[in-house]
């Protein structure tokens, strides 16, 4: 596979994985609306919810990065393009690190 088709294939795999993960997000968001601290920690102390949050952050923010990059490439001329794509990568990376750290603490009690 060439670099381009590898990228394309990876993006489709991520998108397919996001079908169940975004369904989980809807359910989790609805369940946690108005939840207090005890209820929210109880929710994330269940390993399945912690793992779902972890996978959602990793796959979802990879998908976010590739989607936002496509939009930038479509509409932003070469000048600001590189900077914006860099900011997108850094932002998504920071989000992944934040959620991994949060789940490690809340779910796996490090």
């Amino acid at each position: 596979m060439s670099a381009g088709s590898k990228d394309w294939f990876r993006q489709r795999v991520a998108a397919v994985a996001l079908i169940p993960l975004s369904a989980w997000l809807l359910w989790a968001g609805a369940s946690l609306a108005g939840a207090d601290y005890a209820a929210a920690t109880a929710f994330f102390s269940q390993p399945l919810n912690g793992i779902a949050a972890l996978l959602l952050a990793i796959v979802g923010l990879y998908h976010t990065q590739s989607g936002v990059t496509s939009i930038i490439e479509d509409y932003i001329p070469s000048g600001a393009r590189g900077v914006l794509i860099f900011v997108t990568h850094v932002g998504c990376g920071a989000g992944v690190v934040a959620v991994i750290w949060a789940v490690v603490n809340v779910t796996f009690g490090a």
């Binding site: 489709r12 369904a23 609805a30 108005g34 989607g67 920071a94 959620v99 809340v106």
Partner: protein, 130 residues
Amino acid sequence: MSSKSKLRPLSPYMLGPYYRFEFQTLMSIAFRLSGVFMALVLAPLGCLWMLMLVMGPESFAAMQSFMASWLGTAIGWLGALAVSFHLCAGIRHLAWDTARFLEKPQIRATGWLAVFGTLVLFALTLWVAS
């Protein structure tokens, strides 16, 4: 960047003289818009929410009181709508990637199916939240 790639044209804007505005135009714009909303608002807020939960009961209470405010509530509803729509419209795009449903009547039909699916998912989410 080589001088050749600098000369490459950008995508034509969908709103403008290039395309006639129709149902599919709206679906395409809404697909991108829901993605942009999730990228700029929902994802940062979700990461912040997780961090506030780890920081302890006081931080989390402050986060939840923001989520209960009119702005937080609006973001929650719009977020549920954006995720529901992006999910349904995204499945449609994945189907297209397998070279299926590309005839005009099928494009229209799957478009309405995605709109219907969005409403069902959105209603289910609100029902779970209530």
